[in-house]
């Protein structure tokens, strides 16, 4: 079963390499091939997730020793996020098929490279490969942001490139210091050698990782690139960047911190205050900036910054409910925000509508889209019984339970702020039509992914208790890094 792990990374890389060939010579079957691989990968991810139980799978590439070679490690946390990512990529593939026209292979090539990079980030067990996959993801993301080759897109891509490169450099410094002091980059091995680092250097490395990944997942005050990048990228990519990519970058930070440092380090140095402060800043800045936006995708992008703040606050609380709530919110926000970006993309594709004011009377032209937007928006605001409510509830209770009252209050206020900007869109959308508006139909390639995201958000509530159990196990697992370390060392 371990071989499945390498397949999940290699298959998208292979597809990325042959996309041009498929587009050129297998015009009629090209998409079927893409779809088949995507379905197979999703099923394999599900299989591994179900079969592995609470075991940790370790795959030594080329059967090299863990001290020298590349290893892939799959535990419950990485497999859970892997499954989530595969499902999202499957629907994004459908949406991209509808959205991207006249592509000769470049888009799907980048699409698959992004998938490969993110899978690698989830499964890698050493810092070197983490950095390699992170760079693959980053470079592909810069290219995809500027894919439309518009002035805005190129400018956003350039800004993202500058800040993203700074982030990569900072992470590289951290990795470099670790290698210089421990002589190894395998997470499990390095974890045992961390005591070789002086407290100040250990703290410095933590800062490098925290800030480097913080820039990557757009934590306040490193967030400004996100609004430009997500607003300028093609909508299926905006959805992936906002719904999956920033979450996996946050996942990488969680993995590094929990394995190398352990939860006690955060607790002893009171670093939760840092998490909380920057999380609160993200919530406030994200929501307040979203209030002023006139471009729909920019508004959604700023909202993503706010929701990253919720997640960081939940994680920073280190309370069981806060951490579980944060993980659950990663899924919920992912599903809902992807749905919202699909919505924005559908409007751009069919009507070239980008500004909020352009959505006037949309309900009378396409009720399906408008109602879908309302469901996603209500979920984002956190209105029960939609999924967004339950994760926010868990975070608030967890954070309050840990004694951080102000962040809990800010999260609640954040919901109020988000109501205002989403309501503004709804009001415009449902404005009575002055003249008989022409209705428009949307392709199944757009309708199916949007409908699927609604179904996913309902399923996240219906199976809430089961998901809660899984996330609780993950939370217990990351609180104790010895299980991970032993599984790798004795593999």
């Amino acid at each position: 079963m371990n071989h499945i792990l390498i397949w999940l990374i290699v298959s998208p890389i292979f597809l990325a390499a042959v996309t041009h060939f498929i587009k050129k010579y297998l015009v009629n079957f090209g998409f079927l091939i893409f779809l088949s691989v995507s379905i197979v990968n999703t099923c394999l991810s599900l299989l591994v997730f179900l079969e592995s139980g609470s075991d940790i799978l370790v795959y030594r590439v080329g059967n090299w020793s863990i001290y020298k070679g590349i290893i892939l490690v799959a535990d419950k946390m990485s497999l859970f996020f892997l499954l989530f990512m595969q499902i999202i990529f499957f629907f994004s593939l459908l949406f991209s098929k509808g959205y991207v026209k006249n592509d000769h292979g470049t888009f799907f090539s980048l699409f698959y490279l992004l998938q490969a990079g993110l899978t690698g980030m989830l499964l890698t067990g050493d810092l070197f490969n983490l950095y390699v996959f992170l760079e693959i993801v980053s470079i592909v993301a810069y290219a995809l942001v500027a894919y439309d080759k518009t002035d805005h897109g190129l400018e956003a891509g350039f800004k993202y490139l500058v800040l993203g490169s700074v982030a990569s450099l900072i992470i590289l410094w951290g990795i470099g210091i670790i290698y210089a002091t421990t002589g190894n980059l395998n997470l499990a091995i390095v974890a045992g050698l961390m005591q070789n680092l002086t407290p100040l250097i250990k703290g410095g490395v933590f800062i490098f990782f925290f800030i480097g990944f913080g820039i990557k997942f757009a934590l306040f005050p490193f967030h400004p690139w996100l609004a430009d990048a997500h607003a300028s990228a093609p909508s299926p990519i905006s959805a992936l960047l906002s719904g999956v990519m920033i979450k996996i970058q946050l996942y990488s930070l969680i993995r590094i911190v929990t394995v190398l440092y352990g939860i006690d380090y955060i607790h002893d140095l009171k670093l939760n205050i840092v998490f909380m402060s920057l999380g609160v800043g993200s919530v406030l800045i994200g929501h307040l900036m979203a209030l002023k936006q006139t471009n729909l995708k920019r508004m959604l992008a700023y909202s993503s910054i706010a929701h990253i703040g919720y997640i960081v606050i939940g994680l920073g609380s280190i309370s069981p409910q806060g951490v579980v709530g944060a993980f659950y919110h990663m899924l919920n926000h992912g599903v809902l925000k992807i749905g919202l970006f699909y919505f924005a993309g559908t409007l751009i594709y069919h009507l070239n509508l980008k500004q909020i004011k352009d959505l006037k009377s949309l309900f009378w032209r396409n009720p399906f889209l408008s109602i879908m937007f309302c469901i996603f928006a209500l979920g984002m605001i956190g209105i029960p019984p939609l999924n967004g409510f339950f994760s926010k509830w868990l975070i608030i209770m967890g954070v309050a339970d840990a004694g951080y009252v102000i962040p809990a209050v800010i999260i609640a206020i954040g919901s109020f702020l988000s109501l205002i900007y989403y309501l503004r869109v709804v009001v415009i959308m449902f404005e009575p039509a002055r003249k008989l508006e022409e209705r428009f139909r949307i392709d199944p390639f757009f309708a199916i992914p949007i409908g699927a995201m609604v179904v996913c958000s309902i399923l996240l509530v219906v199976f809430g208790s089961q998901i809660h159990l899984i996330l609780h196990e993950i939370m217990l697992f990351i609180r104790d890094n010895s299980t991970y370390i032993q599984a790798v060392l004795y593999s």
Binding site: V162, V166, L200, G203, L291, I383, F390, V405, L423
Partner: protein
Amino acid sequence: MTLSAGILILILSPGVILCKKRWSKIYPILLSLLGLIYHHFLSVESSFVVKFFGFKLNLFSYRLSGDILTYAFLIFGLCVYIFLWSKEKDRFYYMFTLWQVGAAAAILFVGDFLSFFIFWEVISLSSVCILFREAGLSLTGRYFIYQMFGTVSLLIGIGLNYAHTGGMDLQVNTGQLFFWLAIMVKGGVIPFHYWLTSIYPEIRLETTVFLSAYTTKVGIYSLAILLPLMDLQIFGGLIAVIGVIYALKQHRMSRLLAFHLISQMGYVIASINSQIMYGQIGAIYHLINNIFYKGLLFMVAALLMDLFQTDDLMIIRGRGRRYLPLFIITLIAAGSIVGLPGLNGFISKSLIKKGLTNSLTANLLTIAGIGTALSFIKVLYYGFLCVNDQKQSSNSLRVKWHQYVSMSIIGLVCCLIGLFPFLVISRFDLTVNLFNWTDLWKGIWPIILAVILFITCFPQLNKLILQITPDLEGVFVNARRIILVQINLGLKHLQRLHSGNVQHYLVWIVLTILILWTYIAIMV
């Protein structure tokens, strides 16, 4: 494991979507009836606890006051659906109103904060859906924002409480201010009433019947559940007086009734947390009465609107005199609200006054009682009794039989629990005789005084009230404008910081690194 009647209604409510036109009207009636029968046979010892997201949801925890209020909610719901029989309402309207009835009945028995929060939000959400179809976007948006303000306050309160106790049991130990704020906003209590008085006049009156019976009542009932130790006697008394003063200024039935709704809630607030049993029971009794007589009055207003295309008493000017049954029903409802002996309002108001320990509140409630009587004498006079000199066009519209049936049932309930209070009181193991000369006189004299004032100096009194009362809504509008301007300025400043200059962003990163490094250097 037993479901409450409210949850049963909520579960079955989507069924109305599947019904064909006529059945979509019958379905809510049958469902209310089913809920009523189901609730009647529900065992007191039953409970319903499920585990959800790591929390225990206590969906059925028996409360006597909740039990009695459920009867009121369901009987009233049944009557409203009969009242709506001839109205053109689609299936979604019925589904949303069923959510309102179901969630209101369900919340009365919940035993934990999460369930409480969810059901309260279902009530708010169903109100938003109903309003969206009736009142337009602007008003619905305003309503939603007000409700969300209450929701956020409640959420903060629950969070603080959870931080303090580590449990979700419906017991407030800290953060009382936030719970109070949430209840006041959601209950539409002065000074958080703006949504209520600005929205009720703008929507169809039959919809107001729903909103007045469930949304605000659940809000006020929550006081007894969440803040049982908070002494609100004087606050309640003041609300009763202020509400009635503003009601006296109105000549549109919808606005007048909206302010009376606030005023009557003042009675409940004054006594719901009373340490004397009379007061507590009086408050619950008054809440039940209010559901019936206020609902009945809104039904009358809806009919006047249908008949005369206005609810402005100064335009109607006695044209209702041709509808004798309607006049009798209005008389019963008005008699109930002013506390006329023999009708239900008299019982609850007498109990409330017996439960008061503060003489100032007693005086305030007496003043409010006089004002209420004066206001409803005005309604009866200008609606049904005064002689209209203008030539009247013949009106072919008639009140429908089912509307009379529905209003008669409610009127009958008002009389029944007014004449035989033991039907309700005995359930609380309390025996009291309110039909003695002292209590009867206490109930009658404010009405007599109001009649005298109406006959002798009502125009002068009205003029005086208009002069001395500030325009509360104007204050709200101005305050809102000032706040919005300031927020806008702040947001513009924030936007300037996000100018797109990459150099600035790099400086932020370097500064953060330095600050964090300093922090870690200190901590290690």
